[in-house]
């Protein structure tokens, strides 16, 4: 009985948390899509600054990681394909795994580590130092001023980063393909292009768009719900990362299943 009550409470809390994320996302969507027509323009300058931070500055580390992932995928695929003498399928194995799954996922995880955590830390610190209160007393809505530019930056930059990650993964795979699987660089790229359908790339991009919303919502929500005191900022940052990773993978599962069952594959 005790257990059932606790379980019920946990489920309720989880649902309430998801509700708060959805509310935050919808409010950001309202300030992006509706409010500008009511004379409350979006802070584009802040969104661009965020986009630089979220996107451009993530490129070096993301490139390196996804290059390695592409190479690892090629090696792992070759291990099995070699048995069938089908080494020429290495290119398509890498291309499809990257664009449908690992490109969006690895990008999301890198962005969680860099930006999701920093959203929580930034907003959490502002809460602790009364800066959020200061915004409110100046009649400036913190959601519009702080959260919305982060959403805009994230839902634009995450798909862009994902495309870049896919390309770097293919490049990583080609290193193996060219040196060990008898491809030339050009033939590897041709094999990649032949293997990929538009839906592979698009399904990955749809996922990455959803990941962007998830990461921003969790990061900002954790920041906004920071308690009093500096140590609470650390707690918010940690839980932003942990919850984001979990939810991104959950969202990934939902969308992968949806594409599988609705896509008729």
């Amino acid at each position: 009985m005790e257990l059932a009550v606790q379980l019920g409470q946990t489920v309720l809390n989880a649902l309430a948390y998801l509700g708060s994320l959805a509310t935050l996302s919808f409010r950001a969507a309202y300030y992006t899509l509706v409010a500008p027509f009511q004379g409350k323009p979006v802070r584009m300058q802040r969104a661009v600054t965020q986009a630089m931070q979220v996107g451009v500055r993530a490129l070096p580390i993301l490139s390196l990681i996804t290059f390695f992932i592409g190479l690892i995928l090629a090696l792992q695929a070759a291990y099995e394909l070699k048995k069938f003498g089908a080494m020429n399928f290495v290119a398509s194995a890498v291309a499809i795994s990257m664009s449908r799954e690992l490109g969006p996922l690895i990008t999301a995880i890198v962005v969680i580590g860099r930006s999701g955590s920093s959203f929580a830390a930034e907003i959490g610190t502002m809460k602790v130092t009364e800066e959020l209160d200061a915004l409110e007393t100046m009649a400036i809505n913190p959601i519009r001023f702080l959260v919305t530019p982060k959403f805009i930056a994230m839902v634009i930059m995450l798909p862009c980063l994902t495309i870049w990650a896919n390309a770097m993964g293919v490049l990583g795979g080609s290193l193996f393909g060219v040196t060990k699987a008898g491809f030339t660089f050009l033939s590897y790229l041709n094999a990649t292009a032949d293997a990929l359908f538009l839906r592979d790339i698009v399904s990955g991009l749809i996922k990455s768009f959803m990941f962007g919303i998830t990461i921003t919502a969790v990061g900002c929500q954790e920041g906004l719900s920071t308690g009093a005191g500096a140590e609470q900022v650390g707690r918010s940052t940690t839980s932003a990362v942990v919850i984001s990773i979990f939810l991104v993978i959950a969202v990934d599962l939902v969308f992968t299943a949806m594409f599988f069952f609705l896509g008729g594959q």
Binding site: M126, T129, E131, D133, A134, E136, T137, I140
Partner: protein, 278 residues
């Protein structure tokens, strides 16, 4: 000090009117029915020890906390039941200087002060620039617009925060512990700044503090809050000569600040344990 103003003020409606204000955090009631008026152009100091509810009162006055019951009338609107749009309207006529300054760390002092103007007005950049310099000049920070808050000393941060609070030419200015964390000389400078603002703009100023010296210097009237109730309300002179035991206790405590804080803390703890008194 405000003698020349008072005849006019008596006819004018109060700037802020509190009626039986109750505020709770969760189950714990912090303010147990506070009522008083703040006249236009007067400086009211809210005094009280730690945990007395004075900060909660201030947060409620600027709309950061919603009361559980009672009324707060400002500019013809009741803050207790006001819509968000009306609250924003009232807030554009208020300025608040927070205890730690609450300047935005990622923006320069100039950007901080100009923020309300950029958000709420359609002024061109050159105009905003001029207003920004005026505001910084008023608080004695001319030439600091390109500094980051982290490059300023504690006193300068407070001044910058006051400049930001002044940006929209508010009718009511709120200060949360203006001298907290400052050395006596810098704190005296802030007191002087408050007096200057009062004389120059005839603003309604509300200051929350537990610094008695500062309170007696700047206040037209004072209100002493203890455990969520108004204990006494009157001019500085009336407070000084008051025989009310709580007032005496509070005023006489200045001789032993360390002990008084401990007592306050213990009192707060026992109060929590016994729950609400009402």
């Amino acid at each position: 000090m405000s003698g020349s103003l008072s005849p006019l003020n008596e006819k004018a409606p109060p700037a802020i009117s509190l009626r039986n204000l109750r505020v709770s955090y969760g189950d714990r009631e912090i303010l147990h029915g506070v009522s008083f008026d703040v006249q236009q152009g007067e400086t009211l100091v809210i005094l009280g020890g730690s945990g007395s509810g004075k900060s909660t009162l201030l947060r409620t006055l600027v709309g950061l906390e919603r009361p559980t019951s009672g009324e707060i009338w400002i500019k013809g609107k009741n803050l207790a039941t006001v819509s968000n749009d009306d609250l924003d309207y009232i807030r554009r006529h208020m300025g608040m200087s927070f205890q730690g300054g609450a300047l935005f760390g990622s923006m320069t002092v100039g950007e901080n002060v100009a923020l309300p103007l950029r958000e709420h007005t359609k002024l061109e950049d050159p105009t905003i620039d001029i207003m920004l310099r005026l505001k910084l000049d008023q608080v004695g920070l001319s030439g600091y617009e390109d500094y980051l808050p982290s490059q300023l000393s504690g006193g300068m941060k407070k001044r910058a925060a006051v400049a930001r609070a002044l940006a929209m030419d508010p009718e009511i200015l709120f200060f949360d512990e203006p001298s907290a964390g400052l050395d006596p000389i810098i704190a005296a400078g802030i007191d002087e700044l408050i007096l200057e603002l009062k004389q120059a703009f005839h603003m309604t100023i509300i200051v929350v503090t537990h610094e008695l010296a500062s309170a007696f210097l700047i206040a037209d009237r004072m209100v002493l809050i203890n455990k969520g109730d108004v204990v006494a309300l009157g001019t500085a002179e009336e407070m000084r000569t008051s025989t009310h035991p709580r007032v005496r206790q509070f005023l006489d405590r200045i001789a032993e600040p360390a002990v008084s804080q401990e007592l306050d803390y213990l009192q707060m703890l026992t109060e929590e344990r016994h729950g609400n008194r009402r």
